[in-house]
């Protein structure tokens, strides 16, 4: 199990980071996925671990987005007296620096093609981003990807075709 997790942890983190938008939350999500795999599915055949891990990871990412929506709604509800946006104090989360927006110094050393690829991936619809990363990067086959994403094989093919078409257009000139 240790060597399996070691083989997927970095890709899992980058997938979560691309989907969620920041590294701290992505680390939490990956850790949860690892724990869940060990607690519930360690007894399964090893060939099932990879799609199971990514299924758990995608579920955790989806739960993260749902909780964020509910949390925002909940906070709004708990503060009914803050009806005037002109006079309300600014939400700290709205002004805190977004870790995705690396400064020019930190980006300077990064490969331009990777920066463009990351930007293009972030702009993809969520399902297209997932299917691209699972099929092309992780190398899952169509059925494994469908299982990890909880959708049909046909849907995987459609999302992948659209993702590749978009990426090819957006990365023209950056990926020789």
């Amino acid at each position: 199990m240790d060597s399996f997790l070691a083989s997927v942890e970095r890709r899992g983190l980058r997938m979560a980071e691309l989907a969620i938008g920041n590294r701290e939350d992505a680390l939490d999500v990956v850790q949860d996925a690892m724990l869940m795999l060990c607690r519930r599915y360690a007894g399964r055949d090893e060939s099932e671990w990879r799609p199971l891990f990514y299924r758990i990871l995608q579920n955790r990412i989806r739960d993260f987005h749902r909780r964020r929506v509910v949390s925002n709604r909940f906070r709004t509800w708990l503060r009914p007296w803050s009806g005037d946006p002109e006079t309300d104090p600014v939400d700290a989360m709205q002004v805190v620096a977004d870790p995705r927006n690396d400064g020019p110094e930190s980006q300077a050393g990064r490969d331009a093609a990777m920066v463009q690829l990351e930007t293009a991936l972030r702009r993809l619809p969520g399902r297209q981003q997932q299917v691209f990363l699972l099929r092309i990067w992780e190398g899952l086959d169509v059925n494994q990807t469908a299982r990890a994403m909880g959708c049909s094989a046909g849907s995987v093919k459609t999302h992948l075709a659209r993702a590749l078409q978009t990426l090819r257009t957006r990365l023209e000139g950056y990926v020789p």
């Binding site: 199990m1 240790d2 997790l5 070691a6 942890e9 970095r10 890709r11 983190l13 980058r14 590294r23 680390l27 990956v30 850790q31 690892m34 724990l35 795999l37 060990c38 607690r39 360690a42 739960d63 749902r66 909780r67 509910v70 949390s71 709604r73 909940f74 906070r75 509800w77 708990l78 503060r79 009914p80 007296w81 803050s82 490969d111 093609a113 990777m114 690829l117 990351e118 990363l133 092309i136 990067w137 590749l164 990426l167 090819r168 990365l171 990926v175 020789p176």
Partner: protein, 115 residues
Amino acid sequence: MKREPSGQEFTDRLKGLLDADAKGMDEPTAARLRSARRRAVAELDRPHWIAGWLPAGGLATAALAVLVLLMWQGNGVSPVPDMPAGDWEILAVGELELLEDLHFYDWLADADTAG
């Protein structure tokens, strides 16, 4: 004339970029991943009943917190809005941290009112 890369060439290049990016991950992040992995693998040595009962305990705590919240709202502090049923489910199951923040929001409300 510049040749357009084939589908396989194109995806191989993207995969190569992503692989290089993951391989070059900064050491502090890689160390945190290793630590998370060790904690997960340690779960394999824990008795199964612990893994089964801890989430149940957390769920009971969350359910109790939601009940207290509803009673608090019932005291006329503020009306309960029409929240979708799914929202309560999420709050009950996965939002322990948020519920723990309620004390903070309560304090914030008092501070705003006093101010």
